[in-house]
Amino acid sequence: MADSLIIKNLNASIGDRQILKNFSLTIPKGEVHAIMGPNGTGKSTLAKVLAGHPDYTVQSGEATLDGQPILGQEPDSIARAGLFLAFQYPSEIPGVTIANFIRAALIARQEKGAPFDAKAYYAELYAKMDALKMDRKFTSRFVNEGFSGGEKKRCEILQMMMLKPKYAVLDETDSGLDIDALRIVSEGVNHMRGPSIGCLVITHYQRLLEYIVPDRVHIMYDGHIVHSGGKELAVELEAKGYDWVKKELASA
C-alpha cells in the first residue's frame, strides 16, 4: 500500500486539549474518501496536522504519503511532497496577487534556477479559471482579500488544479457555497479525479457528496473515526442525524 496516504494511530493536541485520538485512515491513490462529523470533532485539526501547522503538537502516530513520512516536516516540504489542503477558512493575503502567489508556488516545485514559462502559465491559469467560471480579472486581485465565501472556495480549487497534488484534503469546501457554485467547484474536483490523485473530502453535510460521489465515507467523532461505509452511509447519516453518532456509534 505504498501508493496511499496512510494515517496511523495519530494523537495530536492544541494547547492542553487533546483533539485527535488514535486516528487512523488510509486513502489509496485514485479514491475519494469523505469524512463527516459534527462540529468540533477535530476534522480541521486533522487537515492542519497533516499539512504541518506549527500550532499543533503530535504526541504519537504516523502519516505517510506514498511511503514518505510527513509528520514533523516543514509545511512547505509536505506541500511539495504532494499534499494539498483546501482550507476551511482561507487566509487573506494583502498585496499579493493570485497570479504571483500561484506562480511562486509553481516555481517552488521547479528545479532551482529553471526558467519559468510565463506564457504557458497564464494560458493554463486562464483555462482553469474559465472552467471554474472565475473572472480573469481575479489574477490581479489580492489573494482572498474581499472575496465572498464562494470566491474563496473557488480560489482554493483553482490552486489545487494548478498545483496538481498527489493527495488533496478539502476542508468544508462546500460551506458558504450556493448551489451553482457548489456544482462548479464539484465539477472542478471531479475533473481532477483519476488514478493519480487521492482525495479526502471533509464535510458537515451530505449535500456535497451528491456532487462529489465518494468511494468511502467515514464518520468522525471525538477525534477518531467511529464508523466507515460506502457512499450510502452519507445518506443514512443525513437521515438519522448526528445524535445517532453520539448515541450509538460513539459508544461502540
Partner: protein, 433 residues
C-alpha cells in the same frame, strides 16, 4: 586629491554666482549657519533613536564634470519610464542631460530646467520660492549645508490651469568616490495646474562613498495637483539627508510617495503645510531596510487652514540588523476647524535583530477635528505565512511575498503604474541582493 568642503572653497564657489547677489548671499548665510550649528547628538529629542555617532561630514569633496564614458553609461540607465514629459540627468551635481522641452509644453509656459539654468533664466522665480518655507525637523545643520553648496537640482514650473499627464523625471547620480552633492527639487504648480515628478537618486557603484543632502520645495496653488515619487536608491556607503517641504493652497491635492532602498543611513525630514481650506495632502513612505541600514523618518503635518485633510502612511520592512525610526507630529492651529489629519506607521520585522522605533504625536489646538495617529510593529501574520507555506512556497520566499504585499498598499498610491512597477522591481531586487 580634491579640495575639502571648507570656507575657502565655499567662498570661491559662491563667487561664481556674483551676478546673482541674492543667491550668493543665500549660500554665504547657509555656510555661516552651518558653521555655527553643532552636529546633532543622540540626546537631542529630534534625534532620538538615531545613531548620531556614525554621522560624518568629514572627507567629502565636490567632483568635477564626469567623463563622456560615465555620462553615456549613466544616461543609458536613467530611462526609468518610457515616455516622460521631460528627463533631466545629473551626475555628481552636474546636469548632463537637459533636452529641450516639447514645443507644446514650452509654448504653454512650462519650465523644466536644471537648477543652474533656472537660476540664469528665472532668478526672480527662484528667489521667491527657494528655501522659503523649508525648515529642518532637527536637520537644520544639514539644511544649512545644503544651502551653502546649493547649485544643482531640478526646477519644474507649471503655469495656471496647465495639466500635464505624462510625468517629468529627474535623476541624480553619484559617480565619484567621496563626492558630496546637494540637489534641490523645486516644483511650483500654479492655480489649477496638474503635474507629476519622479525623482530618482542612484549611485554609479554600489560601494561608492558619498554624502547627499537634498532638499525639496513643493508648492501647489489653488486647486493644483502635484504628485511626486521620490526614490532613494543610493549605494550602501552613502549618507543621505532629504529635507522636504510641501505647501498646499486652497483645494490643492498633493501626493508624495517616498521609497527608501539605499544608503547606509538615510534621514528624511518632511513637512506638510496646509495653507488653504479644502487642501488634501498625502504623504507616504515605504522602505526595505537590510544589513545595518538606518532609515530615519521625521514628519510634521501643519494645519494652518481648516476644512482640509492630510494623510500620512509610512511602512517599513526590516531585515537583518536594520533599524528604522518614525517620528511624526500633527499640529492643528486654533482656527483650523474641521481638520482631518491621519498619521500611521507600520513596521514589519523579518528579523529578531532588527529594530523599529515609532514616535507618533499630536498637538491640536482646534476643537472640531478628526485626527488619529497609530503605530504598529510586528512580525508576519503566522496564519498568512502558513497559508503560503502550505502551497509549497519556501519560508524566505513566503516572507518576501508577504513583505512585498505589505508595501503594495503604498505602491498603489503611485498613479503612474509604470513607475510603480519600476519601484516594485527595485524592492524585489533588494530582497535578492
Amino acid at each position: 586629491m580634491q579640495s575639502p568642503l571648507d570656507s575657502r572653497l565655499q567662498e570661491a564657489e559662491t563667487q561664481r554666482f556674483a551676478t546673482q547677489d541674492w543667491f550668493a548671499e543665500l549660500r554665504r548665510q547657509g555656510w555661516q549657519q552651518f558653521s555655527s550649528l553643532p552636529l546633532p547628538k543622540r540626546t537631542d529629542e529630534k534625534w532620538r533613536f538615531s545613531d548620531t555617532r556614525s554621522l560624518s561630514l568629514e572627507h567629502f569633496c565636490l567632483a568635477g564634470v564626469p567623463s563622456d564614458e560615465v555620462v553615456d553609461r549613466l544616461i543609458a540607465q536613467s530611462h526609468f519610464i518610457s515616455r516622460p514629459s521631460g528627463l533631466l540627468v545629473h551626475i555628481d551635481g552636474h546636469c548632463v542631460l537637459r533636452p529641450a522641452l516639447a514645443p507644446e509644453l514650452a509654448t504653454q509656459g512650462v519650465k523644466f530646467e536644471s537648477f543652474e539654468d533656472a537660476l540664469r533664466h528665472h532668478p526672480a522665480l527662484l528667489k521667491e520660492y527657494i528655501l522659503k518655507h523649508c525648515a529642518g525637523l532637527g536637520g537644520e545643520k544639514f539644511l544649512a549645508l545644503h544651502q551653502a553648496w546649493l547649485r544643482s537640482g531640478t526646477v519644474l514650473y507649471v503655469p495656471k490651469n496647465v495639466e500635464i499627464k505624462q510625468p517629468f523625471v529627474s535623476v541624480h547620480w553619484t559617480a565619484t568616490e567621496g563626492v558630496a552633492i546637494f540637489p534641490h527639487t523645486l516644483v511650483i504648480a500654479e492655480d489649477g495646474a496638474k503635474v507629476t515628478l519622479h525623482d530618482f537618486q542612484c549611485s554609479a557603484e554600489p560601494q561608492l562613498r558619498a554624502l547627499a543632502i537634498s532638499a525639496a520645495d513643493l508648492y501647489a496653488g489653488k486647486g493644483a495637483t502635484i504628485s511626486r515619487l521620490a526614490v532613494q536608491a543610493w549605494g550602501l556607503a552613502t549618507q543621505s539627508f532629504e529635507i522636504a517641504n510641501t505647501c498646499g493652497a486652497k483645494e490643492s491635492l498633493i501626493t508624495s510617495v517616498n521609497a527608501a532602498l539605499g544608503a547606509r543611513r538615510a534621514r528624511l525630514e518632511n513637512t506638510i503645510r496646509i495653507q488653504g481650506e479644502g487642501a488634501d495632502v498625502r504623504l507616504y513612505g515605504i522602505s526595505v531596510a537590510t544589513g545595518e541600514q538606518e532609515f530615519d523618518q521625521r514628519t510634521l503635518q501643519v494645519h494652518d487652514a481648516g476644512n482640509a485633510k492630510s494623510d500620512l502612511l509610512f511602512k517599513n520592512v526590516l531585515l537583518d540588523k536594520a533599524r528604522t525610526i518614525f517620528s511624526g507630529l500633527i499640529k492643528v492651529a486654533p482656527d483650523a476647524q474641521r481638520t482631518d489629519a491621519y498619521q500611521t506607521n507600520r513596521n514589519l520585522l523579518l528579523s529578531p535583530e532588527a529594530e523599529a522605533d515609532s514616535l507618533p504625536g499630536l498637538e491640536i489646538e482646534a476643537n472640531d477635528v478628526k485626527c488619529s495617529h497609530g503605530a504598529t510593529t510586528g512580525q508576519v501574520n503566522p496564519e498568512e505565512l502558513f497559508y503560503l507555506l502550505a502551497r509549497g512556497i519556501p519560508l524566505p520566499v513566503a516572507q518576501e511575498l508577504l513583505a512585498e504585499g505589505f508595501l503594495e498598499e503604498v505602491l498603489a498610491k503611485v498613479d503612474d503604474e509604470e513607475a510603480a512597477a519600476v519601484v516594485r522591481e527595485m524592492f524585489r531586487q533588494k530582497f535578492h541582493s
